[in-house]
Amino acid sequence: MLSAAALALLLTVALALARAALGPSVFDRLQAASTIGTCAMLLLALLGFLDERPEFLDLALTYGLLNVIGVIAVLKFFHLGRIANKSHENAEDA
């Protein structure tokens, strides 16, 4: 059952990857990336159980923490970057 669940997770990752590759806007890709992060986290926990080494859960925790930080960082800088670029371009035009 564990390996079946792992397979399903891999499929989900593949679907999310397709969305990340297709995604028209940055936000679509970001959503897909965060789904991939969640799936990777679950996959890790499952791998730990398949190998019977539950120490891997630490890794899963790391993934979870960093996933959030990554998403919020991209959002934050997306706004900053747009503003910075606009003001810069205007300055160069003038």
Partner: protein, 111 residues
């Protein structure tokens, strides 16, 4: 034995909801609706899988760590999807509304 079967059922359920979320991520027409699909994966899919693994592990520290992971998901994923939706709206990405979209429902998007 009973616990094995139960954990198998939970894992299968989790896998099913994850897959559904993935399919929804592909099928849905616009960004905001895709977020709903993704939230299926991140809440029920992940939650059921974690419960399945907890049953598999029994009452040990592994279970405690799994609970921590679950708490992390349930705290962090709504916050990040909230931030995602908010900044998508702020950047002017208009949501698709209704079967017959009516313009008065579109909120004024703030810069």
């Amino acid at each position: 034995m009973l616990i094995d079967i139960l954990s198998g059922i939970f894992l299968a359920g989790g896998a099913f909801f994850c897959l559904v979320g993935g399919i929804g991520l592909i099928r849905m027409p616009d960004f905001y609706t895709r977020m709903h699909a993704a939230s299926v994966t991140e809440t029920l899919g992940a939650g059921l899988m974690l419960v399945g693994m907890m049953l598999h592990a029994g009452l040990t520290l592994v279970t405690a760590k799994l609970i921590l992971i679950g708490l992390l998901i349930f705290l962090a994923s709504p916050a990040s999807s909230h931030a995602l939706a908010k900044s998508a709206l702020m950047s002017g990405l208009k949501p698709l509304l209704g079967a017959t979209p009516s313009d008065d429902e579109v909120p004024p998007s703030k810069p």
